[in-house]
């Protein structure tokens, strides 16, 4: 009721245009204590900001970053094979943009903005490397093209029957991208040991996210199951994992698993890393999804059962769509956390973004230039997390009716 009244007030009363100094006095200087706080904060911001700006422009030596850009992004992936990574990125970006358009819809403005941002990066890359600039431009154009195609499909009734093929499209995309990255079948094999930097971070994070999602949902359902064994195993798993630190799980996966498994079972260290992260993330996801399941009124189950739908159908058509939609923000929050948690892999010997930063800062030419490198990778982490956050907000806005 209160919000309704507020709304009425807002619409009925004409908005008064306040001079800035009145706003300042009412909000920042309305008592001697607040005035003091404001002054202290202003002083801290000025000193800190000034120091940062001075450091960035006069003291920092950015050469350590600019000279190592390739290492930061793709690690020691052979230069002659870089086209394969670009091609994989092109493929994934195209399919992603198409799917988003086809399921979610693109507004022309947003699509244009995304595309232009890509082109902007491409233009900036011209100062670094012509080939990269061209690839980046191609990706930006493909995003716009495939996105428009997806948005066009969404409006066609016929599309509804093709929708169910999207997961297959993604599976094929993944396999092709993996083949491009890894080689074999006519391409030179590139060992996963040289997939470093951002490439490794993104690869591990994406796979862990994609794998932990279904596992988490299954665990959440298992925890609610009327079957005591299923419920017991789910609870035991969730509580065990939630009681362990991630770094411990990663150590077990990297160091212990090879000791436990027979030596022939030569698991790639990437596979072990992904397994550890997935196992960890799934347990937390399960609890989030359980919250969504419990928030659903019992009447939804009853109505579905009364129509003769089986339990799997009820879960798939009625319960999960509503329960998951209710917890999208929390799920995305967890995925953002997972993305950042990949940094811990640097401790167990994987050279992902944080790992490559450590090794760059140890190069003899740039000894001690930690700050520049860490600031640079901090910006990269932030860009990715902020992107996920924005995407999640769009998902929420469009899914409520």
């Amino acid at each position: 009721m209160q919000s309704l009244q507020q709304k009425l007030k807002d619409t009925l009363l004409p908005e008064r245009v306040q001079p800035a100094w009145i706003w300042l006095r009412q909000n920042l200087f309305n008592s001697w204590f607040n005035t003091l706080l404001t002054l202290i904060c202003l002083w801290a911001i000025t000193v800190g900001g000034f120091g940062l700006v001075r450091w960035v422009f006069t003291q920092a030596q950015w050469e350590v970053v600019t000279a190592n850009l390739r290492l930061i992004f793709v690690g020691r992936y052979p230069v002659a094979q870089l086209w394969r990574l670009w091609l994989a990125a092109l493929l994934v970006a195209g399919v992603l943009s198409f799917s988003w358009g086809a399921l979610q819809g693109w507004t022309r403005k947003v699509l244009l903005r995304v595309g232009c941002a890509g082109l902007g990066v491409g233009v900036a890359l011209m100062f670094v490397d012509w080939m990269s600039a061209l690839w980046c431009g191609a990706i930006a154009l493909l995003i716009m093209g495939a996105g428009s195609a997806g948005a066009w499909c969404q409006r066609k009734p016929l599309w509804q029957s093709f929708k169910s093929w999207l997961p297959l499209l993604w599976l094929i995309t993944f396999l092709v991208a993996l083949w491009l990255m890894n080689g074999g079948f006519g391409l030179t094999t590139v060992s996963t040991k040289v997939w470093n930097g951002l490439l490794l971070t993104v690869f591990v994070a994406v796979l862990s996210i994609v794998l932990s999602f279904p596992l988490g949902v299954l665990l959440a359902i298992g925890r609610q199951s009327p079957l005591p064994i299923v419920r017991g195993v789910s609870i035991a798993y969730i509580e065990l994992i939630r009681g362990l630190p991630l770094i411990g799980i990663l150590f077990v996966a990297q160091v212990m698993l090879p000791l436990l498994l027979p030596p022939q079972a030569n698991m790639d260290q990437l596979v072990r890393a992904i397994a550890g992260l997935t196992a960890f993330s799934a347990a937390y996801l399960a609890e989030t999804v359980r919250g969504g399941l419990q928030s659903l009124p019992k009447g939804q189950w009853e109505a579905s059962k009364a129509l003769g739908l089986s339990t799997p159908m009820t879960l798939g058509f009625i319960v999960l769509p509503q329960a998951l939609r209710a917890v999208v923000p929390a799920i995305v929050g967890q995925f953002i956390g997972l993305f950042k948690d990949t940094a811990l892999l640097s401790i167990v010997g994987l050279v992902e973004l944080t790992g490559i930063a450590r090794s760059i800062a140890a190069q003899p030419d740039y000894l001690g230039r930690y700050a520049e490198v860490y600031l640079a990778i901090g910006i990269i982490y932030w860009l990715f997390c902020y992107g996920m956050s924005v995407a999640s907000r769009r998902l929420e806005h469009s899914s409520g009716h």
Binding site: G299, L307, L309, F317
Partner: protein
Amino acid sequence: MTDGLVALPISVQPIISVRGLQKWYGSFQALKDIDLEVKTQEVVVLMGPSGSGKSTLIRTLNGLETHQQGQILIDGVELTQNPRQLESIRREVGMVFQQFNLFPHLTVLQNITLAPIWVKRMSHPQAKETAMQLLERVGILEQAHKYPGQLSGGQQQRVAIARALAMQPKIMLFDEPTSALDPEMIKEVLDVMRSLAESGMTMAIVTHEVGFAREVADRVLLMDRGQIVEQATPEEFFLNPQQERSRQFLSQILA
């Protein structure tokens, strides 16, 4: 049709048959020794004070509640906890709830076609056509592509009726279908139910709408503390109740 070899006349063949039904919630006995037969095309109205077990009884009839003793036969099939058997019985028995329980994330049309498509394996175009006919029958054809949240309570309950009818059930159960509605919307829902009764649907209805019960019911049952205390035709029940409990109840709701 007087030939002795044809099936028994409809009126003597019970489609719902309940014998010696007992149900407990923990140590609380919600249903006590219920015997009930409903014949094909019969309309039975259940009345009784709040907490007397009306919802419990009607919900055991399609297995939403389990019973501990006694036997329930729906169209000759015994109701057990076997999931397959339950699902096949639920296909024959439609249910309408007090709170509508529409699926808020699906459009009206999707609400109605979901079960026919996935449970009855009906083709999409056919399910859609049936749904449109039903929406026309309940008088809200123009709302087909809206979401439940965009409809009034009366419209939502009519969608819920159409959703249940889309499975072409032999029996329809209603648990206080108008109790959550604003007074001005009650009539539109009762009108739909009335025409459904006229079309020959077998119905078991929990309701406090006396006028509707007198007009539509073939039989009125009074429940009290988990027992059926009186069964009679509407005229007898409302004008000349036999039991003290019935008189008390009627004086309360007619006051």
